[in-house]
């Protein structure tokens, strides 16, 4: 009689391990959930109200009870009521939702930055210290983390449901999202934008750790080269330093301290130099010529991967002086296509070691 104990055990275990509500594992999650519960409450009230209206009228005015209908034209007051009350509620939801949106998408200034590259079908995270991970992301709790993300092929979307954050990862454009994890643990990373065959395999795990554990992890996973160091190598091997040498006579603008500054272009417009600008200027230089320079830089479209671009951007970001460039120039001189470039030392005064 009854259900077999094996099946019973299975069912109990199965139901017990099933999920009904996501964990609240970031500082944003409680804010999102508060709005969610507010929305659920007004929806339930609305739904119950409509259901009661329909049920009550159906019982009270069914044909058995009320054989002859009384014609009613309408009622301006009633109609105004059910225009204004929903409108007011919707406007509350709009304002609340807007505030939450800005909270989720405006990163705090002290956020640490991690790069994420999406490609069919994996997530590649790159920490500034050079730690690379595939389909995994290690972050410290209690500290804001900003992800600067880009796709190497199609649209992807980076989602951590337990943190209530998600952002489209777009080809050819940096997008950012930030969060601050609160509880150590592992949480799902999903790609939520359909991206081809193995879309449902583009998943991973974010591991939130205490700052001490995180530091330990950083040290253990060190690849020996930071992103900026990788960028420096690329800068030399691609010959960037030939023109961007920092010399007064150089054919390219000085890159030291350029990140975060306002730049005037040849068409007179002013731009803020950020990650996106640097990336665009490398790939599509003819559209981004600094005032006073000739449009001679070739495009690097198709010659450099998104990972490489991130390395270069990270390198330029940290470039406070041209000392290292000029050092590199000495060691990498044999790679230069143009032997007539002025040699090191002609502009010694611009070098501030």
């Amino acid at each position: 009689m009854g259900i077999s104990p094996v099946l019973w055990q299975f069912l109990v275990k199965w139901l017990h391990s099933s999920a009904l509500f996501p964990a609240e594992a970031s500082t944003i999650a409680p804010y999102t959930d508060a709005l969610y519960f507010f929305l659920i409450s007004i929806s339930l009230i609305g739904l119950v109200f409509v259901t009661i209206l329909i049920l009550y009228f159906s019982l009270r005015y069914r044909r058995d009870k009320n054989p002859v209908a009384t014609q009613v034209e309408g009622s301006t007051i009633l109609e105004a009521t059910w225009t204004i009350i929903p409108l007011a509620l919707f406007l509350v939801v709009f304002v609340w939702g807007g505030l939450l949106y800005f909270r989720i998408y405006d990163p705090p200034p002290n956020a640490m930055n991690i790069y994420v590259v999406g490609k069919q079908w994996m997530w590649k995270a790159e920490h500034p210290g050079g730690q690379h991970e595939i389909n995994a992301l290690h972050v410290p709790i209690g500290q804001p983390v900003q992800l600067t993300m880009i796709s190497q092929d199609v649209f992807h979307s980076f989602s951590i449901p337990d943190f209530r954050v998600k952002r489209e990862v777009i080809p050819g454009r940096y997008s950012t999202v930030w969060f601050q994890a609160t509880d150590p643990g592992t949480y799902h990373i999903f790609c939520t934008q359909y991206c081809g065959t193995l879309h449902s395999g583009m998943i991973g795990e974010v591991t939130a750790m205490t700052p001490a554990d995180y530091k330990k992890w950083l040290d253990q996973s060190n690849s020996g080269m930071s992103l900026a160091q990788n960028g420096e190598r690329l800068f030399a091997s691609m010959g960037c330093n030939a023109c961007h040498s920092g010399n007064a006579a150089a054919r390219g603008p000085n890159l030291a301290g350029v990140y975060g500054s306002k730049l005037t272009l040849t068409d007179g417009s002013q731009v803020l130099v950020n990650d996106a600008y640097l990336r665009d200027a490398i790939l599509n230089p003819s559209q981004h010529v600094t005032a006073g320079f000739a449009p001679i830089m070739p495009t690097y479209q198709g010659q450099i991967s998104e990972d490489g671009l991130i390395d270069l951007v990270e390198y330029i970001k940290q470039l406070q002086s041209n000392y290292r460039i000029q050092q590199t120039f000495v060691t990498a001189g044999s790679n230069q296509a143009s032997p007539t470039t002025p040699a090191v030392g002609t502009n010694q005064d611009s070098v501030k070691p």
Partner: protein, 556 residues
Amino acid sequence: MSSTATIVSLPDQATARLPKRSYLNNEQGLLSWLLTGDHKRIAILYLISITFFFFIGGAFAGLIRLELLTPQPDLVAADTYNKFFTMHGIIMVFLFLVPSVPATIGNFLIPIMVGAKDLAFPKINLLSWYLYVVGGIMVLAALVLGGVDTGWTFTTPLSTHYLNTHVITAALAIFVAGFSSIFTGLNFIVTIHRMRCPGMTWFRLPLFVWSNYAASLLMVLGTPVLAITLVLVLLERVFGIGVFDPTKGGDPLLFQHLFWFYSHPAVYIMILPGMGVISETISTFSRKRVFGYTAVAFSSVAIALFGFFVWAHHMFIMGVSNYSALVFSLLTMLVAVPSAIKVFNWAFTLQKGSITFETPMLYSFGFLGLFTIGGLTGVFLGSLGMDIHLTETYFIVAHFHFVMVGGMLMAFLAGVHFWWPKMTGRMYPESLSKLAAVTTFIGFILTFMPQFILGYLGMPRRYHAYPPEYQVLNVLSTAGATVLGVGYMLPLLYLGWSLKYGAIAGDNPWQATGLEWQIQSPPLTENFIETPIMDHEAYDYEWLEQKKKNEVTTVG
């Protein structure tokens, strides 16, 4: 059962016969159907073809749910699964939902409701059906040749550069089917403007005509944008013109803007005619004029108008500027208001009515409940911060199925059951059809309610495999889909049965007021023997009583 529990009054079955001459038997032979200019025959052609595609699309839905029964990717390969949901989407959206009510029920009824003999351009109407069929055959061709796996949204650069399936065939199919929709819309607009019978002022039009008019405006203004977008996708795929490709200086987000500029209004193309059906059925089965006729009429037009300015709410997480996201969120909240107005107006139409619960009314109640849930969850998604967590998950899948399937398909079935006696002259078995309505409602709730919870948990849409802790809810959803499948098969069986064995319906089995109910069932090819003169308001049940009394005295 007391005799007052129903308003159905059928003629004496012993003596009743179908009319000797009607649009169905006016001409004989297959060619007389394939070359017809009669809007009623074209409506029947449409009804048969969209039913065919509905069940194909439904079969794919069944396969999707079957795969999702287990967390492992064990039923089919990933590519096959992707083809399943792409085909499900393309067929259901472009070949079922968009033409469903307008091209079948609208085609059949709009000329009759405005008191005209036919639509303004009968041959264009027939051409529209042929374009639909060509589009449909091309979709089937893409399917048979190996399928397509872009998703129904054809997102670039996936569709242009990264897939080697039959994208071109499928996109051309939708391009062609789009023209069928443009022609239908054009025909409706001209007919409603120019061919109303004497006395039929704009505010005497049945609300079904108003809502189809609003939907037609959207079809004519929106569909060309979809056509242009698909042509750009094709050019990009074949010649690499670089409109959307970032490596050539194109903008991949531009595609999304263009696509949703059509596809958001398309949602209203799908739902508005359904709302028209509900206005008719609720009025008829509560014997009352629709509460606030003008408000309901104008709310349709308001939805159509606002519907064009909310497309970017599909792109809140895609890096549109925060401030433009604010504007689109606000407009989205505004477009929700006319829908709320409609729901309350329908509910208050019941007040002081004399309500009966025939099958079309049960489907209409189903519509009210499910559409209210679908509409309210739309507010969740229109709210910026909430949308970040909910978009691209099963929450959004559940939301639009509540609106499109719970709303539109319920309305479509309400309409088919309501006007079936007019279209065929025969009634279907009442208790079986009520059972189908209830089964559909229960199956629907069971299928899609768990998906809201899955969505908040974060389960992404279009996933072939998922983490094991989501299984219980997926099993519930699949079980519901089974019930839902039974609910949809039942009407196919008993409506087919009724064609031969159903009771003779007579001219006006529901005692409804519309012009279509004052003529014989099934109607003559020319609809009216003499041009009708509209001398009363829409939904004037006192006029109907008066008319019946006069008939009794003159005939009897």
